[in-house]
């Protein structure tokens, strides 16, 4: 049903788009002043628009440099464009041919010492380039424009990723600049088969979007599916890769992330080598990786940097953490309110003593504490870093302690809630952590009504949901089911790298061999 509504809205969007395009005059005229006034008309003469008109050397032919202040590298525009045109044409006493096309090739070949140079025939392309930070060179009498790549704006440098820090591993994280990001990937993957397919996203914002993959590894059907879905996107603006994610994910009703996002360059390059596709968007450090499975939510690059034994143990720990994050409060509720007999008698006594005089049933108590915790977490993110810690201490310790002393919650409940909070942070993917947090409330409610029986039914339902879910044609539950036993080497445990000769089979890579057996001759 919802899919239908969506596809309809997509179609109607396209109709509007056609109406939009008509308004902009798309021709470039011979007359310089007319072109310049057109540009000013379209942009409504903003204060950051730079239009510099001057004559080419002594030839007397006028030309104009158009760019947006702040987006361009000023030094490059001044030194390499304006200055070189002015000086080189006078110093050498060279007479430039005045006729149309020649002046363009002459400038292109001998004068402009820049590495990125394009020609444009329509005003549309020129406008787009200017707004992207390129510089346009109009010449009077010629209906072509030279576009000089001069992007250079103030941006963040390559820093350590904020959301995914590791103990051991490269410290480089993506930035908001898509070129820097492609550079980081290119530096990790020096394979000539690495492909960057550029697209533009956003009817108005026209952002750069790059689909990145390694040809010869990725399965063509996955790639085709990614491209097909990207083509369906029709929005005004894509402020963050989250917009892309929501447009192309398989099921928007699912709490589970069907596309992984990461800030880490090494995670992207590893995924590319596994036969996955990365989607980069300009303006965000978060790169999308598709397809994604449940198991890959538990994988962190660090697993492969540490020795396999440590990596395996940590990964097992993460699976336990996920279990605790979803089921621990529910188990507590179920056992305390339905199956008291399951608690060993000594513990039962102390539990009963701690719960004596509490006004609420366990389910209310748990919901109360979990809601408080979510509140604290949300507040902690919004607050400035220095205050954030204080709130953590005030909220976590003081409220917890006070609630226990006031006799509103039992101390065991505080332990349970704290443990679940810690567990949900142990999962490397933040969005997966959120999914588990949502599911936790479902299990708690089920446990409050049906006890252990409710928990197992919710567990079954979660499994059904996961088994139904797909990510770009790959079952979300792979490689558990459908079972790819070979991939189990890198699932719950991370087998030594020397034992993993094949790429993951569930992604169905074209070239499936990762490494040869450690043979001296090979």
């Amino acid at each position: 049903m919802l899919r239908h509504i969506f596809s309809k809205s997509r179609k109607s969007n396209k109709r509007e788009k056609k109406n939009q395009d008509v308004k902009i005059p798309s021709l470039i005229y011979d007359d310089l002043t007319e072109n310049l006034s057109n540009i000013k008309k379209i942009l409504d003469s903003p204060s950051d628009l730079i239009v510099r008109v001057f004559t080419i050397g002594e030839s007397g032919q006028s030309c104009a440099v158009v760019c947006i202040d702040g987006l361009v590298d000023k030094e490059l525009v001044n030194e390499e464009i304006i200055k070189s045109i002015q000086i080189s044409c006078t110093k050498n006493n060279q007479e430039l041919p005045l006729s149309g096309k020649n002046i363009l090739t002459e400038l292109e070949n001998k004068v402009l010492s820049v590495h990125e140079l394009k020609k444009a025939d329509t005003l549309d392309n020129v406008m787009l380039a200017i707004l992207e930070g390129d510089t346009a060179l109009f010449i009077n009498g010629i209906n072509q424009v030279l576009l000089v790549g001069s992007k250079g704006w103030a941006g963040r440098g390559v820093e350590e990723p904020m959301t995914e820090s590791l103990i051991r591993g490269p410290r480089e994280g993506f930035t908001e600049n898509i070129r820097t990001n492609t550079m980081l990937i290119r530096r990790n993957v020096r394979d000539p088969n690495l492909r960057f397919e550029s697209n533009k996203i956003g009817r108005r914002s026209k952002k750069d979007l790059i689909v990145c993959y390694i040809e010869g590894i990725v399965h063509p059907e996955i790639l085709a599916e990614v491209n097909r879905r990207l083509k369906c996107i029709d929005v005004d603006d894509a402020p963050e890769s989250g917009t892309i994610e929501e447009w192309i994910e398989d099921s928007f009703l699912s709490p589970f992330p069907q596309i992984l996002h990461t800030e880490r360059a090494d995670k992207v390059s590893t995924s590319l080598f596994q036969g996955k596709v990365a989607i980069l968007l300009d303006g965000t450090p978060f790169v999308l990786i598709a397809p994604t499975t449940l198991a890959s939510l538990f994988q962190s690059p660090e697993d492969y940097y540490e020795r396999w034994f440590i990596g395996s143990l940590i990964r097992i720990l993460r699976y336990i953490a996920a279990f605790l994050a979803v089921f621990l409060p529910a188990l507590y509720i179920a056992i305390v309110s339905f199956h008291q007999g399951m608690i060993p008698s000594r513990l039962a006594f102390s539990l009963a003593a701690s719960r004596e005089g509490l006004p609420f049933p366990a389910i209310v108590e748990a919901l109360l504490m979990e809601a408080t915790l979510e509140l604290l977490r949300e507040a902690g993110i919004r607050l400035p870093k220095t205050i954030g810690q204080t709130i953590g201490i005030v909220g976590g310790l003081v409220i917890g302690e006070a609630a226990v002393q006031a006799g509103i919650v039992s101390p065991v409940m505080v332990i349970v809630v704290a443990l679940t909070a810690i567990s949900s942070f142990a999962i490397p993917s933040y969005s997966a952590g959120i999914a588990f947090r949502i599911l936790r409330f479902a299990t708690m409610l089920a446990a409050g009504i049906f006890g252990l029986y409710g928990i197992i039914l919710v567990y079954i339902m979660i499994n059904i949901h996961i088994a139904r879910l797909n990510s770009f044609g790959i079952p979300y539950s792979a490689p558990f089911a459908p079972a790819f036993y070979h991939d189990w080497k890198d699932l719950v445990i991370r087998a030594p790298l020397t034992a993993q000769h094949k790429r993951p089979q569930y992604v169905q890579t074209v070239d499936d061999t990762r490494s040869n057996k450690g043979d001296e001759n090979s």
Binding site: I460, I464, A467, R468, A481, P482, V510
Partner: protein, 368 residues
């Protein structure tokens, strides 16, 4: 260029193995030791299980042979080829009815035993209703989902059984399983009939046949699938008798679950292992019920091609619920179960043999 092996509804041989195993392991295991020792003494029921198991292996082989002859076809399609269409329709309808009853039985069994081990005063009707809702959620998707669920759940169920058996090693007394060979043959044969009852469920391959991507592997993987519960039954029976002895077992309602009651978790983490055991056991009850429901839908769908799957679910579910809630007590439920088993024996053993013979005589060959 390789193509996607699992993007569509196809299933491989290991999926068949797992599905057959988890279809068979269900409610029957919980009562099996009691029904066996009601006509046998001490460990002699072992022979009954072996006889029953071998018979079942034989009939699974027959089923496998039949389905391998007609790759990618379901019961309705190949019966139409072998005999004719009206007969095929009637047979498929009976099959649908049988698997519908199977769902009801499994649901009622789950509700009854949940009430026994997990709840004190929640009514059976509510417990059964919630269970049915989850089953409906499962079958409202494609069949491949249920098969994937089997793959995820069966290892967990086998693990909990292994734990159950391991933790009972201390209570095993050799004197309980002696003396050997004290039962008459009639008793042993009667017990093996009971064993056959609890092996029912393997006939689902008559319908899952059409999803198989390598039809040739059907026989082998179905046989392996049956061997898993076969070994499991032997092991559980051995332990139930070894721990409780014949007399006690006869008077236990669910001897296998009672085995869990004895367990003491090392370290004293928690007590009453049977609650945990049963909680996990709901998973296998669920897979059995969901698969039976799925087979009902597949059967009806093969007859009424145009009816929507969801429509069928909406019509069938209330009927199943009412049937499940009709038996008033445990005795009536077990009579209900017995009748289902008789239909099951006819459908999964007699009819396939007949079909195979007729197919051989008439020399039916599938084209392409």
């Amino acid at each position: 260029m390789k193509t996607f092996e699992y993007g569509d509804n196809e299933i491989g041989s290991k999926e068949v193995t797992m599905s057959v195993a988890s279809m068979v392991i269900g409610f029957g295991v919980l009562t099996l030791p009691r029904t066996i020792v009601s006509t046998t003494n001490s460990i002699d029921g072992f022979i009954s299980i072996v006889i029953g198991g071998i018979l079942i292996l034989f009939f699974t082989w027959i089923l496998g042979m039949l389905t391998t002859k007609f790759p990618k076809k379901n019961l309705h399609e190949f019966t139409s080829l072998i005999i004719n269409k009206p007969v095929a329709t009637i047979l498929t309808m009976i099959f649908a009815f049988y698997s519908m009853l199977f769902v009801s039985y499994e649901m009622r069994g789950t509700a009854d035993i949940s009430k026994l081990y997990l709840f004190d005063d929640t009514p059976v009707e509510v417990i059964g209703f919630v269970f049915l809702l989850v089953v409906i959620y499962a079958v409202s998707g494609p069949s491949s989902v249920i098969i994937r669920i089997n793959l995820m759940f069966l290892p967990i169920v086998l693990c909990i059984l292994a734990v159950l058996i391991l933790l009972n090693v201390n209570f095993f007394e050799v004197k309980n399983i002696k003396p050997f060979f004290v039962t008459d043959w009639l008793g042993i044969l009667q017990a093996s009939r009971e064993t056959i009852f609890s092996f029912l469920g393997f006939e689902t391959i008559l319908f899952y046949n059409m999803f198989l991507n390598k039809p040739k592997d059907m026989v082998k993987s179905a046989l392996v699938g049956i061997s898993i519960p076969f070994l499991l039954y032997l092991l559980i029976f051995l332990f139930v008798i070894g721990v409780f002895g014949t007399e006690v077992t006869r008077n236990l309602l669910y001897p296998t679950a009672e085995l869990a009651r004895l367990v003491e978790i090392p370290g004293g983490f928690f007590e009453r292992f049977e609650s945990l055991f049963f909680t996990i056991w709901v998973m296998t009850l669920f897979t059995t019920a969901a698969m039976a429901y799925d087979v009902t839908l597949l059967a009806l769908k093969s007859v009424f091609n145009k009816v929507n799957r969801m429509t069928l679910i909406f019509i069938l579910s209330p009927i199943m619920y009412i049937i499940a809630m009709t038996p008033q007590n445990v005795l009536e439920l077990s009579i209900f179960g017995e009748w289902i088993s008789y239909i099951g024996i006819i459908l999964s053993m007699v009819i396939p043999v007949l079909l195979l013979i007729i197919a051989k005589i008439r020399g039916v060959k599938v084209n392409g």
